[in-house]
Protein backbone atom coordinates (compact mmCIF):
# COMPACT_ATOMS: atom_id res chain seq x y z
CA UNK A 1 0.00 0.00 0.00
CA UNK A 2 1.45 3.39 -0.88
CA UNK A 3 2.26 5.76 1.93
CA UNK A 4 4.81 6.47 4.62
CA UNK A 5 5.50 3.71 7.14
CA UNK A 6 7.38 3.96 10.42
CA UNK A 7 9.02 0.80 11.74
CA UNK A 8 10.91 0.32 14.98
CA UNK A 9 12.37 -2.45 17.11
CA UNK A 10 13.82 -2.73 20.62
CA UNK A 11 13.52 -6.50 21.05
CA UNK A 12 17.26 -7.02 21.61
CA UNK A 13 20.20 -4.84 22.72
CA UNK A 14 19.52 -2.13 20.17
CA UNK A 15 17.21 0.78 19.45
CA UNK A 16 16.32 1.10 15.77
CA UNK A 17 13.80 3.01 13.67
CA UNK A 18 13.16 3.26 9.93
CA UNK A 19 10.96 5.25 7.60
CA UNK A 20 9.70 3.56 4.46
CA UNK A 21 8.08 5.45 1.60
CA UNK A 22 6.07 3.06 -0.54
CA UNK A 23 5.32 4.77 -3.86
CA UNK A 24 4.26 3.55 -7.28
CA UNK A 25 7.60 4.70 -8.69
CA UNK A 26 9.57 2.76 -6.08
CA UNK A 27 10.39 2.62 -2.40
CA UNK A 28 12.85 4.58 -0.31
CA UNK A 29 14.03 4.14 3.26
CA UNK A 30 15.75 6.22 5.93
CA UNK A 31 17.00 4.57 9.09
CA UNK A 32 18.66 5.22 12.40
CA UNK A 33 19.98 2.61 14.84
CA UNK A 34 22.15 2.37 17.91
CA UNK A 35 23.39 -0.55 19.98
CA UNK A 36 21.71 -0.20 23.37
CA UNK A 37 21.57 -2.57 26.32
CA UNK A 38 19.42 -0.27 28.44
CA UNK A 39 17.72 3.10 28.23
CA UNK A 40 15.57 2.19 25.22
CA UNK A 41 12.46 3.62 26.89
CA UNK A 42 14.06 7.07 27.07
CA UNK A 43 15.81 6.91 23.70
CA UNK A 44 13.28 5.35 21.33
CA UNK A 45 10.86 8.24 20.82
CA UNK A 46 13.51 11.00 20.55
CA UNK A 47 15.31 8.80 18.01
CA UNK A 48 12.14 8.45 15.94
CA UNK A 49 11.44 12.19 16.20
CA UNK A 50 14.99 12.97 15.12
CA UNK A 51 14.71 10.66 12.13
CA UNK A 52 11.41 12.21 11.07
CA UNK A 53 12.66 15.77 11.50
CA UNK A 54 15.76 15.00 9.44
CA UNK A 55 13.52 13.67 6.65
CA UNK A 56 11.10 16.61 6.88
CA UNK A 57 8.07 14.49 7.74
CA UNK A 58 5.67 14.59 10.68
CA UNK A 59 3.57 12.02 12.56
CA UNK A 60 0.54 13.22 10.60
CA UNK A 61 2.18 11.91 7.40
CA UNK A 62 2.26 8.29 8.62
CA UNK A 63 0.05 5.63 7.02
CA UNK A 64 0.81 3.08 9.74
CA UNK A 65 3.15 2.36 12.65
CA UNK A 66 4.97 -0.98 12.40
CA UNK A 67 6.60 -2.54 15.43
CA UNK A 68 8.86 -5.51 16.10
CA UNK A 69 6.99 -7.77 18.54
CA UNK A 70 9.71 -10.30 19.31
CA UNK A 71 10.34 -12.89 20.52
CA UNK A 72 13.18 -11.30 22.42
CA UNK A 73 13.75 -9.24 25.52
CA UNK A 74 10.37 -9.09 27.31
CA UNK A 75 10.83 -5.53 28.51
CA UNK A 76 12.18 -4.38 25.15
CA UNK A 77 9.23 -5.67 23.19
CA UNK A 78 6.76 -4.15 25.65
CA UNK A 79 8.49 -0.78 25.30
CA UNK A 80 8.10 -0.78 21.52
CA UNK A 81 4.61 -2.28 21.43
CA UNK A 82 3.27 0.15 24.03
CA UNK A 83 4.69 3.13 22.14
CA UNK A 84 3.22 1.85 18.87
CA UNK A 85 -0.21 1.40 20.44
CA UNK A 86 -0.10 4.90 21.90
CA UNK A 87 0.92 6.37 18.54
CA UNK A 88 -1.78 4.45 16.69
CA UNK A 89 -4.45 5.67 19.09
CA UNK A 90 -3.39 9.30 18.88
CA UNK A 91 -2.81 9.33 15.10
CA UNK A 92 -5.81 7.17 14.23
CA UNK A 93 -3.68 4.94 12.00
CA UNK A 94 -3.14 1.18 12.29
CA UNK A 95 -0.35 -0.26 14.40
CA UNK A 96 1.06 -3.40 12.80
CA UNK A 97 2.95 -6.05 14.72
CA UNK A 98 5.82 -7.80 12.94
CA UNK A 99 7.47 -10.81 14.58
CA UNK A 100 11.21 -11.32 14.39
CA UNK A 101 10.53 -14.32 12.14
CA UNK A 102 8.61 -12.16 9.66
CA UNK A 103 11.33 -9.51 9.82
CA UNK A 104 14.10 -12.08 9.21
CA UNK A 105 12.19 -13.56 6.30
CA UNK A 106 11.59 -10.09 4.88
CA UNK A 107 15.26 -9.15 5.22
CA UNK A 108 16.43 -12.38 3.56
CA UNK A 109 13.93 -12.09 0.73
CA UNK A 110 13.98 -15.85 0.33
CA UNK A 111 11.40 -17.51 -1.88
CA UNK A 112 12.39 -21.12 -1.17
CA UNK A 113 11.54 -22.89 2.13
CA UNK A 114 13.68 -21.72 5.05
CA UNK A 115 13.89 -21.45 8.80
CA UNK A 116 13.94 -18.08 10.52
CA UNK A 117 15.91 -18.27 13.79
CA UNK A 118 16.23 -15.89 16.72
CA UNK A 119 18.69 -16.38 19.60
CA UNK A 120 16.99 -17.34 22.84
CA UNK A 121 18.39 -17.63 26.37
CA UNK A 122 19.70 -20.86 27.94
CA UNK A 123 21.08 -22.64 24.87
CA UNK A 124 17.86 -22.40 22.92
CA UNK A 125 16.70 -20.76 19.74
CA UNK A 126 13.31 -19.50 18.60
CA UNK A 127 12.52 -21.04 15.23
CA UNK A 128 9.84 -20.85 12.58
CA UNK A 129 9.83 -22.55 9.21
CA UNK A 130 8.41 -20.82 6.15
CA UNK A 131 7.43 -22.59 2.93
CA UNK A 132 5.08 -25.39 1.93
CA UNK A 133 5.65 -27.32 5.20
CA UNK A 134 5.63 -24.21 7.42
CA UNK A 135 5.65 -24.57 11.23
CA UNK A 136 4.35 -22.33 13.97
CA UNK A 137 7.02 -20.49 16.00
CA UNK A 138 8.68 -22.78 18.54
CA UNK A 139 11.60 -23.02 20.97
CA UNK A 140 14.26 -25.63 20.13
CA UNK A 141 17.81 -26.44 21.33
CA UNK A 142 20.59 -24.54 19.54
CA UNK A 143 22.10 -27.80 18.25
CA UNK A 144 18.92 -28.67 16.31
CA UNK A 145 19.55 -29.76 12.70
CA UNK A 146 17.28 -27.68 10.45
CA UNK A 147 15.93 -29.28 7.25
CA UNK A 148 16.14 -26.11 5.15
CA UNK A 149 18.37 -23.04 4.80
CA UNK A 150 18.37 -20.82 7.88
CA UNK A 151 18.04 -17.05 8.21
CA UNK A 152 19.35 -15.72 11.52
CA UNK A 153 17.54 -12.62 12.79
CA UNK A 154 20.20 -12.19 15.46
CA UNK A 155 22.87 -11.81 12.76
CA UNK A 156 21.03 -8.90 11.14
CA UNK A 157 22.20 -5.37 11.83
CA UNK A 158 19.75 -3.28 13.87
CA UNK A 159 19.11 -0.90 10.97
CA UNK A 160 18.28 -3.84 8.68
CA UNK A 161 15.83 -5.09 11.31
CA UNK A 162 14.04 -1.73 11.50
CA UNK A 163 13.77 -1.56 7.70
CA UNK A 164 12.48 -5.14 7.56
CA UNK A 165 9.87 -4.34 10.24
CA UNK A 166 8.64 -1.37 8.18
CA UNK A 167 8.61 -3.40 4.95
CA UNK A 168 6.87 -6.43 6.44
CA UNK A 169 4.42 -4.11 8.21
CA UNK A 170 3.62 -2.25 5.00
CA UNK A 171 2.89 -5.61 3.36
CA UNK A 172 0.70 -6.80 6.26
CA UNK A 173 -1.15 -3.44 6.30
CA UNK A 174 -2.97 -4.42 3.11
CA UNK A 175 -5.28 -6.47 5.33
CA UNK A 176 -6.80 -5.44 8.65
CA UNK A 177 -4.47 -6.50 11.49
CA UNK A 178 -5.07 -7.03 15.20
CA UNK A 179 -3.38 -4.58 17.56
CA UNK A 180 0.29 -5.48 17.97
CA UNK A 181 0.96 -7.65 21.00
CA UNK A 182 4.28 -8.71 22.47
CA UNK A 183 5.17 -12.13 21.06
CA UNK A 184 6.83 -13.80 24.04
CA UNK A 185 6.81 -17.45 22.98
CA UNK A 186 7.91 -18.20 26.56
CA UNK A 187 5.44 -18.19 29.43
CA UNK A 188 5.96 -15.94 32.43
CA UNK A 189 8.19 -17.50 35.08
CA UNK A 190 5.75 -17.99 37.91
CA UNK A 191 5.16 -20.94 40.17
CA UNK A 192 2.17 -21.46 42.43
CA UNK A 193 3.04 -21.22 46.14
CA UNK A 194 4.58 -24.40 47.56
CA UNK A 195 2.98 -24.21 51.01
CA UNK A 196 -0.57 -25.57 50.81
CA UNK A 197 -3.40 -23.81 52.66
CA UNK A 198 -4.38 -25.37 56.01
CA UNK A 199 -7.16 -27.94 56.25
CA UNK A 200 -10.20 -26.15 57.62
CA UNK A 201 -12.17 -27.93 60.36
CA UNK A 202 -15.67 -26.95 61.51
Amino acid sequence: MTGLYLGFDTSAAHCAAALLWVRPEGSRTAVVAEPMAKGQAERLLPMIEGLMAAQGVTFADLAAVCVGTGPGNFTGIRIAVSLARGMALSLNVPAIGVTGFDAARQAAGLAQPHWALIDAPRGQVYAQKFGPDATPPQIVPTETAFDAPVVRWSDLAADAIAVAVAQAGARLARDPQPRPAPFYLRSADAAPPSDPPPAILP
Binding site: A41, I48, R85, P182, I200
Partner: protein, 361 residues
Protein backbone atom coordinates in the same frame (compact mmCIF):
# COMPACT_ATOMS: atom_id res chain seq x y z
CA UNK B 1 -8.68 30.71 38.10
CA UNK B 2 -8.32 30.83 34.31
CA UNK B 3 -9.60 28.28 31.83
CA UNK B 4 -10.75 24.87 32.98
CA UNK B 5 -8.12 22.28 32.04
CA UNK B 6 -8.87 18.64 31.25
CA UNK B 7 -6.28 15.88 31.74
CA UNK B 8 -6.09 12.20 30.90
CA UNK B 9 -4.46 10.11 33.64
CA UNK B 10 -2.84 6.69 33.16
CA UNK B 11 -1.88 4.27 35.96
CA UNK B 12 -0.24 0.83 35.67
CA UNK B 13 2.23 0.55 38.54
CA UNK B 14 0.86 -2.57 40.20
CA UNK B 15 -2.03 -4.87 39.27
CA UNK B 16 -4.64 -2.34 38.15
CA UNK B 17 -4.74 -0.96 34.62
CA UNK B 18 -6.44 2.43 34.91
CA UNK B 19 -7.26 5.54 32.88
CA UNK B 20 -9.32 8.57 33.83
CA UNK B 21 -10.35 12.00 32.62
CA UNK B 22 -10.42 14.76 35.23
CA UNK B 23 -10.76 18.54 34.95
CA UNK B 24 -9.19 21.30 37.00
CA UNK B 25 -12.44 21.97 38.88
CA UNK B 26 -12.10 18.49 40.36
CA UNK B 27 -14.76 16.94 38.18
CA UNK B 28 -14.05 13.28 37.40
CA UNK B 29 -15.42 12.75 33.91
CA UNK B 30 -14.42 9.07 33.91
CA UNK B 31 -12.32 6.67 35.92
CA UNK B 32 -11.80 3.20 34.50
CA UNK B 33 -9.98 0.54 36.51
CA UNK B 34 -9.34 -2.97 35.21
CA UNK B 35 -8.02 -5.27 37.93
CA UNK B 36 -5.98 -8.45 37.61
CA UNK B 37 -7.00 -10.42 40.70
CA UNK B 38 -7.96 -13.46 38.61
CA UNK B 39 -4.61 -13.52 36.78
CA UNK B 40 -2.58 -13.66 39.98
CA UNK B 41 -4.96 -15.74 42.13
CA UNK B 42 -3.09 -19.02 41.68
CA UNK B 43 0.24 -17.52 42.77
CA UNK B 44 -0.63 -16.04 46.15
CA UNK B 45 0.52 -12.55 45.18
CA UNK B 46 1.09 -10.25 42.24
CA UNK B 47 3.56 -11.78 39.76
CA UNK B 48 5.44 -8.88 38.10
CA UNK B 49 5.83 -10.50 34.67
CA UNK B 50 2.16 -11.50 34.53
CA UNK B 51 1.14 -7.97 35.55
CA UNK B 52 3.42 -6.42 32.92
CA UNK B 53 1.99 -8.65 30.20
CA UNK B 54 -1.56 -7.69 31.06
CA UNK B 55 -0.85 -3.95 31.19
CA UNK B 56 0.85 -3.95 27.77
CA UNK B 57 -2.23 -5.37 26.08
CA UNK B 58 -4.93 -3.60 28.09
CA UNK B 59 -3.74 -0.02 28.51
CA UNK B 60 -4.88 1.40 25.18
CA UNK B 61 -8.30 -0.23 25.50
CA UNK B 62 -8.75 1.22 28.99
CA UNK B 63 -7.71 4.68 27.73
CA UNK B 64 -10.26 4.41 24.92
CA UNK B 65 -12.97 3.48 27.43
CA UNK B 66 -12.05 6.38 29.71
CA UNK B 67 -12.26 8.84 26.80
CA UNK B 68 -15.55 7.37 25.57
CA UNK B 69 -17.14 7.44 29.03
CA UNK B 70 -16.01 11.04 29.49
CA UNK B 71 -17.30 11.90 26.04
CA UNK B 72 -14.06 13.60 25.02
CA UNK B 73 -11.49 13.00 22.31
CA UNK B 74 -7.74 13.18 22.78
CA UNK B 75 -7.80 16.57 21.09
CA UNK B 76 -10.17 17.98 23.70
CA UNK B 77 -7.53 17.40 26.38
CA UNK B 78 -5.03 19.90 27.76
CA UNK B 79 -2.52 17.33 28.91
CA UNK B 80 -1.70 13.73 29.77
CA UNK B 81 -0.38 12.50 33.11
CA UNK B 82 1.14 9.07 33.64
CA UNK B 83 2.51 7.19 36.63
CA UNK B 84 6.29 6.96 36.16
CA UNK B 85 6.94 5.13 39.47
CA UNK B 86 7.39 3.82 42.05
CA UNK B 87 6.06 0.36 41.29
CA UNK B 88 6.53 -2.76 39.23
CA UNK B 89 8.74 -1.51 36.43
CA UNK B 90 7.22 -3.56 33.60
CA UNK B 91 3.79 -2.04 34.03
CA UNK B 92 5.17 1.44 34.65
CA UNK B 93 7.19 1.24 31.42
CA UNK B 94 4.15 0.22 29.39
CA UNK B 95 2.15 3.12 30.79
CA UNK B 96 4.91 5.64 30.15
CA UNK B 97 5.51 4.40 26.60
CA UNK B 98 1.80 4.42 25.74
CA UNK B 99 1.58 7.96 27.12
CA UNK B 100 4.63 9.02 25.13
CA UNK B 101 2.93 7.70 21.99
CA UNK B 102 -0.29 9.54 22.82
CA UNK B 103 1.57 12.78 23.44
CA UNK B 104 3.72 12.43 20.31
CA UNK B 105 0.66 12.09 18.11
CA UNK B 106 -1.30 14.91 19.72
CA UNK B 107 1.42 17.34 20.78
CA UNK B 108 -0.12 17.45 24.27
CA UNK B 109 2.02 18.18 27.33
CA UNK B 110 3.00 14.97 29.14
CA UNK B 111 3.56 14.93 32.89
CA UNK B 112 5.28 12.08 34.75
CA UNK B 113 3.60 11.59 38.12
CA UNK B 114 4.81 9.84 41.26
CA UNK B 115 2.17 7.26 42.16
CA UNK B 116 2.43 8.18 45.84
CA UNK B 117 1.92 11.86 45.03
CA UNK B 118 -1.27 10.78 43.29
CA UNK B 119 -2.53 9.22 46.52
CA UNK B 120 -1.24 12.10 48.63
CA UNK B 121 -2.97 14.82 46.55
CA UNK B 122 -6.30 12.96 46.30
CA UNK B 123 -7.85 14.86 49.28
CA UNK B 124 -7.45 18.05 47.23
CA UNK B 125 -9.32 16.45 44.34
CA UNK B 126 -12.16 15.15 46.52
CA UNK B 127 -12.39 17.83 49.22
CA UNK B 128 -10.30 20.77 48.06
CA UNK B 129 -8.05 20.52 51.12
CA UNK B 130 -5.53 23.27 51.74
CA UNK B 131 -1.91 22.54 52.67
CA UNK B 132 -0.63 21.33 55.04
CA UNK B 133 -2.46 18.12 55.92
CA UNK B 134 -1.38 14.77 57.28
CA UNK B 135 -1.66 11.81 54.97
CA UNK B 136 -1.64 8.19 56.07
CA UNK B 137 -1.03 5.98 53.08
CA UNK B 138 -1.80 2.34 53.87
CA UNK B 139 -1.98 -0.10 50.99
CA UNK B 140 -0.70 -3.48 49.83
CA UNK B 141 2.61 -1.97 48.83
CA UNK B 142 3.04 1.12 50.97
CA UNK B 143 2.68 2.43 54.49
CA UNK B 144 3.80 5.92 55.35
CA UNK B 145 2.88 9.14 57.09
CA UNK B 146 3.34 12.23 54.98
CA UNK B 147 2.85 15.86 55.88
CA UNK B 148 1.69 17.26 52.55
CA UNK B 149 3.06 20.80 52.45
CA UNK B 150 2.70 21.64 48.78
CA UNK B 151 2.09 20.09 45.35
CA UNK B 152 5.67 18.87 45.32
CA UNK B 153 6.62 19.01 48.99
CA UNK B 154 5.95 15.94 51.07
CA UNK B 155 7.57 15.45 54.47
CA UNK B 156 7.78 11.82 55.40
CA UNK B 157 7.53 11.49 59.16
CA UNK B 158 7.44 7.72 59.32
CA UNK B 159 6.70 4.51 57.51
CA UNK B 160 7.03 0.77 57.56
CA UNK B 161 10.51 -0.67 57.81
CA UNK B 162 9.43 -3.96 56.21
CA UNK B 163 5.99 -5.11 55.00
CA UNK B 164 3.02 -2.91 54.21
CA UNK B 165 -0.16 -3.65 56.20
CA UNK B 166 -2.08 -4.67 53.09
CA UNK B 167 0.60 -7.24 52.38
CA UNK B 168 0.29 -8.50 55.96
CA UNK B 169 -3.49 -8.87 55.53
CA UNK B 170 -2.95 -10.79 52.29
CA UNK B 171 -0.38 -13.10 53.86
CA UNK B 172 -2.60 -13.66 56.88
CA UNK B 173 -5.45 -14.64 54.59
CA UNK B 174 -3.17 -17.01 52.73
CA UNK B 175 -1.90 -18.65 55.94
CA UNK B 176 -5.47 -19.10 57.14
CA UNK B 177 -6.91 -20.45 53.88
CA UNK B 178 -8.92 -17.30 53.14
CA UNK B 179 -9.37 -15.81 49.65
CA UNK B 180 -7.37 -12.91 48.15
CA UNK B 181 -7.38 -9.98 48.45
CA UNK B 182 -6.97 -10.72 52.13
CA UNK B 183 -8.19 -7.45 53.65
CA UNK B 184 -11.96 -7.93 53.30
CA UNK B 185 -11.74 -11.67 54.12
CA UNK B 186 -9.73 -11.16 57.32
CA UNK B 187 -11.96 -8.26 58.38
CA UNK B 188 -15.10 -10.36 57.92
CA UNK B 189 -13.66 -13.25 59.97
CA UNK B 190 -12.41 -10.87 62.66
CA UNK B 191 -15.95 -9.63 63.30
CA UNK B 192 -16.88 -12.97 64.84
CA UNK B 193 -13.57 -13.47 66.62
CA UNK B 194 -12.13 -12.71 70.03
CA UNK B 195 -9.30 -10.18 69.66
CA UNK B 196 -7.96 -10.97 73.16
CA UNK B 197 -7.44 -14.72 72.80
CA UNK B 198 -4.06 -14.50 71.07
CA UNK B 199 -1.42 -12.12 72.38
CA UNK B 200 0.17 -10.81 69.20
CA UNK B 201 3.11 -8.37 69.34
CA UNK B 202 2.72 -4.63 68.70
CA UNK B 203 5.96 -4.13 66.73
CA UNK B 204 7.91 -0.90 67.33
CA UNK B 205 5.23 0.42 69.68
CA UNK B 206 7.87 0.78 72.38
CA UNK B 207 10.13 2.80 70.09
CA UNK B 208 9.94 6.51 69.56
CA UNK B 209 8.86 7.96 66.24
CA UNK B 210 6.35 6.98 63.61
CA UNK B 211 8.03 4.02 61.94
CA UNK B 212 6.11 0.76 61.74
CA UNK B 213 6.87 -2.92 61.22
CA UNK B 214 4.54 -5.74 60.24
CA UNK B 215 6.72 -8.70 59.32
CA UNK B 216 7.11 -9.93 62.92
CA UNK B 217 3.36 -9.89 63.33
CA UNK B 218 3.03 -12.17 60.34
CA UNK B 219 5.53 -14.62 61.86
CA UNK B 220 3.68 -14.53 65.18
CA UNK B 221 0.45 -15.34 63.38
CA UNK B 222 2.05 -18.31 61.64
CA UNK B 223 3.32 -19.67 64.99
CA UNK B 224 -0.08 -19.23 66.65
CA UNK B 225 -1.77 -20.92 63.71
CA UNK B 226 0.60 -23.87 63.81
CA UNK B 227 0.08 -24.22 67.57
CA UNK B 228 -3.72 -24.42 67.34
CA UNK B 229 -3.50 -26.66 64.29
CA UNK B 230 -1.14 -29.07 66.05
CA UNK B 231 -3.76 -29.59 68.73
CA UNK B 232 -6.72 -29.90 66.40
CA UNK B 233 -5.18 -31.51 63.31
CA UNK B 234 -6.45 -28.65 61.17
CA UNK B 235 -7.66 -25.11 61.49
CA UNK B 236 -10.99 -24.76 63.30
CA UNK B 237 -13.29 -22.01 62.09
CA UNK B 238 -13.45 -20.33 65.49
CA UNK B 239 -9.67 -20.47 65.83
CA UNK B 240 -9.43 -18.77 62.47
CA UNK B 241 -11.86 -16.05 63.52
CA UNK B 242 -9.92 -15.44 66.72
CA UNK B 243 -6.59 -15.34 64.85
CA UNK B 244 -8.02 -12.78 62.43
CA UNK B 245 -9.44 -10.68 65.24
CA UNK B 246 -6.14 -10.78 67.16
CA UNK B 247 -4.12 -9.90 64.08
CA UNK B 248 -6.40 -7.02 63.12
CA UNK B 249 -6.39 -5.66 66.67
CA UNK B 250 -2.58 -5.63 66.67
CA UNK B 251 -2.48 -3.75 63.34
CA UNK B 252 -5.10 -1.31 64.62
CA UNK B 253 -3.20 -0.65 67.86
CA UNK B 254 0.04 0.04 66.01
CA UNK B 255 -1.56 2.25 63.35
CA UNK B 256 -3.57 4.18 65.95
CA UNK B 257 -0.58 4.92 68.19
CA UNK B 258 1.72 5.84 65.31
CA UNK B 259 -0.99 8.04 63.80
CA UNK B 260 -1.32 9.81 67.16
CA UNK B 261 2.43 10.51 67.12
CA UNK B 262 2.38 11.66 63.48
CA UNK B 263 -0.53 13.96 64.30
CA UNK B 264 1.37 15.61 67.12
CA UNK B 265 4.25 16.34 64.73
CA UNK B 266 1.78 17.72 62.22
CA UNK B 267 -0.02 19.86 64.78
CA UNK B 268 3.28 21.59 65.59
CA UNK B 269 2.74 23.37 62.24
CA UNK B 270 -0.47 24.92 63.66
CA UNK B 271 -2.55 24.31 60.52
CA UNK B 272 -5.61 26.58 60.16
CA UNK B 273 -7.79 23.52 59.57
CA UNK B 274 -6.21 20.33 60.89
CA UNK B 275 -6.99 17.31 58.73
CA UNK B 276 -5.74 13.74 58.65
CA UNK B 277 -6.52 11.97 55.39
CA UNK B 278 -6.10 8.30 54.53
CA UNK B 279 -5.55 6.53 51.24
CA UNK B 280 -4.81 2.99 50.14
CA UNK B 281 -6.92 -0.15 50.16
CA UNK B 282 -6.37 -0.78 53.88
CA UNK B 283 -8.34 2.42 54.54
CA UNK B 284 -11.43 0.39 53.58
CA UNK B 285 -11.12 -1.67 56.78
CA UNK B 286 -13.90 -0.38 59.05
CA UNK B 287 -12.28 -1.48 62.29
CA UNK B 288 -9.01 0.31 61.47
CA UNK B 289 -10.88 3.33 60.26
CA UNK B 290 -12.90 3.58 63.48
CA UNK B 291 -9.70 3.53 65.52
CA UNK B 292 -8.11 6.25 63.40
CA UNK B 293 -11.24 8.38 63.69
CA UNK B 294 -11.10 8.06 67.48
CA UNK B 295 -7.46 9.16 67.53
CA UNK B 296 -8.28 12.17 65.35
CA UNK B 297 -11.30 13.16 67.42
CA UNK B 298 -9.25 13.15 70.61
CA UNK B 299 -6.87 15.66 69.04
CA UNK B 300 -9.63 17.72 67.42
CA UNK B 301 -8.42 16.83 63.94
CA UNK B 302 -10.81 16.17 61.07
CA UNK B 303 -10.55 12.63 59.71
CA UNK B 304 -10.96 12.38 55.97
CA UNK B 305 -11.32 9.20 53.94
CA UNK B 306 -11.95 9.75 50.23
CA UNK B 307 -14.39 7.30 48.56
CA UNK B 308 -12.84 3.85 48.34
CA UNK B 309 -12.56 3.90 44.53
CA UNK B 310 -10.28 6.95 44.93
CA UNK B 311 -8.39 5.41 47.89
CA UNK B 312 -7.29 2.34 45.99
CA UNK B 313 -5.19 2.52 42.83
CA UNK B 314 -6.89 4.59 40.13
CA UNK B 315 -5.97 7.01 37.37
CA UNK B 316 -8.14 9.95 38.45
CA UNK B 317 -5.57 10.70 41.13
CA UNK B 318 -2.81 10.60 38.51
CA UNK B 319 -4.70 12.96 36.19
CA UNK B 320 -5.29 15.28 39.16
CA UNK B 321 -1.67 15.21 40.33
CA UNK B 322 -0.64 15.94 36.73
CA UNK B 323 -3.04 18.89 36.61
CA UNK B 324 -1.69 20.23 39.89
CA UNK B 325 1.90 19.95 38.69
CA UNK B 326 1.04 21.50 35.32
CA UNK B 327 -0.69 24.48 36.94
CA UNK B 328 2.27 24.94 39.27
CA UNK B 329 4.67 24.93 36.30
CA UNK B 330 6.29 21.71 37.53
CA UNK B 331 6.87 20.10 34.15
CA UNK B 332 10.15 18.23 33.87
CA UNK B 333 10.97 15.63 31.17
CA UNK B 334 13.14 13.84 33.75
CA UNK B 335 9.91 12.93 35.58
CA UNK B 336 9.06 10.66 32.65
CA UNK B 337 11.88 8.23 33.33
CA UNK B 338 10.15 5.07 34.53
CA UNK B 339 11.57 3.93 37.85
CA UNK B 340 10.78 1.17 40.35
CA UNK B 341 11.86 3.30 43.33
CA UNK B 342 10.99 6.94 43.75
CA UNK B 343 10.68 8.25 47.31
CA UNK B 344 8.38 11.27 47.60
CA UNK B 345 10.58 12.79 50.26
CA UNK B 346 14.17 12.51 49.07
CA UNK B 347 15.43 14.09 52.30
CA UNK B 348 13.92 11.51 54.68
CA UNK B 349 16.40 8.96 56.02
CA UNK B 350 16.45 5.66 54.15
CA UNK B 351 14.44 3.08 56.06
CA UNK B 352 15.91 -0.07 57.49
CA UNK B 353 14.90 -3.04 55.41
CA UNK B 354 14.28 -1.09 52.23
CA UNK B 355 17.15 -2.85 50.46
CA UNK B 356 20.50 -1.75 49.15
CA UNK B 357 18.92 0.30 46.40
CA UNK B 358 17.23 2.57 48.91
CA UNK B 359 13.64 3.30 49.77
CA UNK B 360 11.17 2.13 47.19
CA UNK B 361 8.73 4.88 47.83
Amino acid sequence: MGKTLTFLGIESSCDDTAAAVVDSTGRILSSEVEGQVVLHAAFGGVVPEIAARAHAERLDHVVERALATAGVGLRDLDGIAVTAGPGLIGGVLSGVMLARGLAAGTGLPLIGVNHLAGHALTPRLTDGLDFPYLMLLVSGGHCQFLIVEDVDRFRRVGGTIDDAPGEAFDKTAKLLGLPQPGGPAVEAEARAGDPRRFAFPRPLLDREGCDLSFSGLKTALLRARDAVMANAGGLRLQDRRDLCAGFQAAVADVLAEKTRRALSLYLELSPARAVCAVAGGVAANQALRARLETVCQALDVQFLAPPLRLCTDNAAMIAWAGLERFRAGLVDPADLVARPRWPLDATAPVLIGSGKKGAKG
